[in-house]
């Protein structure tokens, strides 16, 4: 290894490889039905039955890791509605 390597930027190929492996593991598993997308729609539908959802107040985040997907649904429910239901 040349001493110049110490001053070079970090190698990008290992990152490409890792990103592809994670991405394709998910794409292969969900080629027919995207479970996370189905869950997102159904969970929102259930909430909408009880609360009027303001689409600006819904924050959805998905993070796909090697072994797990994390679906975060963050819905702001107005105080008035919450009190009514209680």
């Amino acid at each position: 290894m040349s001493i110049l390597n110490l001053f070079r930027k970090q190698r990008s190929a290992p990152m490409a490889r890792e990103r592809l492996q994670v991405l394709l593991a998910h794409e292969r598993a969900s080629s027919n039905s995207d479970l996370v997308a189905v869950l997102r729609e159904e969970i929102l539908a259930v909430i909408a039955k009880h609360v009027e959802i303001d689409s600006d107040k819904v924050h959805i985040k998905i993070d796909r890791d090697e072994n797990v997907s994390i679906l975060e649904i963050d819905v702001e429910i107005p105080v008035a509605v919450a009190a009514e239901a209680a």
Binding site: S2, R11, A13, A16, R17, L20, L24, E27
Partner: protein, 271 residues
Amino acid sequence: MGKVIVVTSGKGGVGKTTSTAALGAALAQRNERVVVVDFDVGLRNLDLVMGAERRVVYDLINVIQGEAKLSQALIRDKRLETLFLLPASQTRDKDNLTPEGVERVINELKRVFDWVICDSPAGIESGATLAMRHADVAVVVTNPEVSSVRDSDRIIGLLDAKTLKAERGERMEKHLLLTRYDSNRAERGDMLKVDDVLEILSIPLLGIIPESMDVLRASNIGSPVTLADARCAPAMAYFDAARRLAGESVPITVPNEKRGIFDKIFGRKAA
């Protein structure tokens, strides 16, 4: 009966047309009868890469629509008498490419030629699925780059689902052709290596084509690279790939372009 090969990739610009022409000319130089078929209706380019753009009279759509006979549409290469081109239409709509029509043309070609090489359009739409439908063997052209590898993975999924072979429950034969490979950059860790791509896509390797000026030079003059300069690195890699397609067992070598002065000075090893 001839063998039907589809050259496909999903992503555009990775070298499908270049590879179709190069493999076709390499096989024809073995005195086998070869036809290269352009499926890219509306954006044909195989004629240009083959240097036959001024000789196109009829095309695949004309034959499918019954406006021309197959023998009228086939263009014989001026350099190799066993090499033929069936061009795509530049003006017609791609909806004219019907499944029945394609089946009839492919079956007719299989009776006359040893190799029917179908140059698929990019994408996963009907043009691409029709190009792969009757294939016995698929050549998946991939660059060592994330978007190309992802799209190849998608195409491999389609090959296992939408081809006649797959529908009959048979195993679809698929081979990886890694193009635009730069062994120096891969060795430095700045490009996906052959083994990385193989591990991710897990299909057997047909060949490694080095990134090279010779490929552009060949298309500039309208000649498959295996005809333009048979001794250049990409041509030799295509010849090896063609021999593997024909069933010969040829050891895989990683083509090595000349090393730059920088690498020579610092003695960085290339694969």
